[in-house]
Amino acid sequence: MLEAELPPIRPYHPTTFLERGVAVPFTTPRLGGTRARPAKKHLVELVVPNLSGGRGVYVMPWSSLTALCRPTLHDKVFSQRIASVTNVTPATIRRVARQIAAEGLAGEEAMEAARVATDADKGDRVVTNYRLLMTLVEQVVRRFSPASLTGQGSHALDPSEKARLAVDWISPRLGQSTTWTANALEELADVMSNIGVGSVGATGRTPRLTNMLRAVRTSVSEWSDTQRHEDQTCYAKMFCAVADVTLSLAQTTVAKAQALPDNMIDLLQTWAADRDSIIELVGRPEWLLDGWEQICLIWNNAVDDATRRAALAEMATLVPILPKEVNDWCSMTNEIDDVVRFRRLINLNEDWFTGAMVFSLIRRNEHFRAITV
């Protein structure tokens, strides 16, 4: 697409999370806050914040990225890889990001982190699968007291044997084979490992991110109390207001998702009949928190007042807009509208995105890739 053919700037008020798109962790400073979303003909288009810091966004096919700026090789490859992704979700974009990081295109630190993260994810899935199995055992014993699990000698069974017996017992009552049930529990573990299940709830990716956002929100608020410049307090108020709504919504949606294993039989039956509804419900916190990790890292990377002033100005341009779809999840219409109206866009000093400082910013963004990958 020629530069002259770039789409005009227009208001940006996404109705759904999918329309808002998924945050893409590009390393090019100018592309901070860019999102990817499905377009026509099974392609993906990019939603790039207005480069001048003003209102509106650029909506463009991935191939037009170079008409807008000089993307890093990492970003060019990234945009090519996501061009054909058919299921745009935070999880799929994260997988692509990790793959590219593992190839080394975001630097040595991110490459090493990607390898470690892949192992950690496998571990999270194994732990979640184990928790689901043990929850199933506990519920089957408590509700049905089957002889195989409560009879003489059952106390000597090891956890894996108990799990096998529980699956054996419940499968015919679900109208499924034992293989189906075992597979379903593994698939559910895959879907639920991000939000955490049972006592490992706090170690899932979503609870960790929620905790980080809560800590950053507190830190921003405390810091802004010591500031006398109106701009700083204004950005801080806006950030805290949107963070509060997001945290409140995240808490509600995480609680709903984490409550699913409270009735394992219902969960397995729903998984058999309408697995998409489970995936959608469990995926809500990720959609809500999408884009906040980068914002938190920018704040946490700031070491003193000067860097915090700069960080807050950058964060203010990245705060995600809450789509109206969130009203279907919780009844907070007025508050959300207020927050969105309060959102202000600001202009950073040009040096941040162009001059020599661009090299430092790319290095910082690659460091963020290593942390989040």
């Binding site: 299921n87 000067a306 001059g355 400082m357």
Partner: protein, 430 residues
């Protein structure tokens, strides 16, 4: 550890100083770490004074001690006693220890908060410096403004007559320490939104300060935060206290003249650029070019353009030398010497070096030498490709270095040629 007495064993000290002057960077770092543990200011001064320029190039992180924190706002204008002249806006290093003791005695119990805030911290603890500095500097200014020479002033090796003008001048700076630090950090970070407020705070009641103090303040702003120079000029051009405006005008002129003279001296500019850590050199060049631009804009300064032109030529020359030297040391030599494939650590070092060189080059080409930098960068890219062909670099490591040296387009073209064709594993769920 037994501490050697400097006065008792001058030959040993001389021998140690000679050893240090010949030591490599790693040995110097180890010695500094030992001296920091000992925390004896006299020993530090005796051993380290001859190495000050070299220490700057090592970018060392040192323990954050009371005296170091106290004089942080004055750091760029602290000079060796032999280089100090009473009429110039500078502070002799030998005066620091007696002045610090005067401040500490004057603070009394208030020093406890400072000590607690900086305990165990180092000079990279930015927020601790800001916090402790905001508490210390204005109070230290009050103490110094009212102080008389202490019994140990002779230790500074300066006349008793020097004490009062020097301590009053230092007090004028410390009174504005938090605002000067604000300006400095904004310049380093690259945000200038609040410079106007900071300069207004600095110039508040400036007419009550001695001219020596005003000259130090102006020099510090021109040196560290040249983007704020127009705000000083605006103050001079505004209505109000004529005497204060005349003093600020004189201070700007004195600070400007001092900086230009330093740059014109045979070694200062090239030494600063050649010895400074590569990571800081780009920012250093940016500050100098901003300063030169600002005084060109200052019609009241009356600086001859040929004089500025000569300094720019000198700066251009120094930048080219630094770039070439940095390229050889940080990239070309490691690539040429590599008998084994470069590992992750080696790659990170080369990437850092490449980015720091690009930061320098981005600023330096504004003064001149664009074709020279382009040529050197092309040669460096060629060396990277040769190293990759010889098996020293993996394809992706080669691409990363090419991207840094020649830009993302060059790296993307290579990627298309060499890697894009390779199959990419299909991702589940995509």
């Amino acid at each position: 550890m037994t501490q050697p007495s400097m006065k008792a064993a001058p030959p040993a000290v001389h021998a140690l100083r000679k050893d240090l002057s010949l030591a490599d960077d790693q040995k110097i770092k180890r010695v500094i770490a030992m001296l920091d543990d000992v925390a004896d200011p006299k020993m530090n001064q005796t051993l380290l004074d001859p190495l000050r320029v070299r220490l700057a190039s090592l970018n060392l992180v040192r323990p954050l001690r009371f005296t170091r924190l106290l004089f942080l706002p004055l750091d760029p204008v602290i000079v060796a006693p032999r280089d100090w002249k009473p009429e110039e806006p500078a502070v002799p290093r030998t005066a620091l220890a007696p002045l610090a003791r005067t401040v500490r005695a004057g603070l009394g119990a208030e020093a406890v908060f400072i000590d607690k805030t900086i305990a165990g911290r180092k000079t990279d603890a930015m927020q601790a410096i800001t916090l402790a500095g905001e508490a210390l500097w204005p109070r230290a200014a009050e103490v110094l403004a009212a102080a008389s020479p202490s019994d140990d002033w002779a230790e500074a090796g300066l006349s008793i007559k020097v004490f009062q003008p020097l301590s009053r001048a230092v007090a004028a700076v410390l009174r504005r320490g938090p605002q000067l630090r604000w300006l400095l950090r904004d310049e380093e970070v690259g945000v200038f939104e609040s410079a106007e407020q900071a300069v207004a705070d600095i110039l508040k009641d400036i007419g009550k300060e001695p001219p020596e103090g005003c000259a130090l303040i102006a020099r510090l702003i021109l040196l560290q935060s040249p983007h704020a120079a127009p705000l000083l000029r605006r103050f001079v051009a505004s209505g109000g206290d004529q005497a204060a405006k005349a003093m600020v005008r004189r201070a700007i002129d004195q600070g400007t003249e001092q900086m230009l003279s330093d740059m014109e001296s045979d070694t200062a500019l090239s030494e600063e650029l050649s010895r400074g850590p590569l990571a800081n050199v780009g920012a250093m060049v940016r500050r100098i070019t901003t300063f030169l631009h600002e005084i060109e804009e200052d019609s009241g300064a009356g600086i001859d353009r040929p004089r500025l032109h000569a300094i720019r030529r000198k700066l251009d020359h120094a930048c080219r030398e630094r770039f070439s030297d940095g390229l050889n040391t940080g990239l070309l030599s490691p690539l040429a010497a590599g008998s084994a494939p470069v590992d992750g650590t080696g790659q990170v070092l080369m990437e850092s070096c490449g980015r720091e060189l690009r930061e320098l080059e981005s600023e330096a080409r504004k003064i001149g030498g664009a074709a020279n930098y382009d040529r050197l960068l092309q040669e460096a890219s060629a060396a990277v490709k040769e190293a990759a062909a010889a098996g020293t670099l993996t394809p992706v490591r080669k691409l990363r270095l090419i991207e840094i040296l020649s830009g993302p387009e060059a790296a993307a073209a290579l990627y298309e040629q060499e890697i894009a064709g390779a199959p990419v594993p299909r991702l589940n769920g995509c």
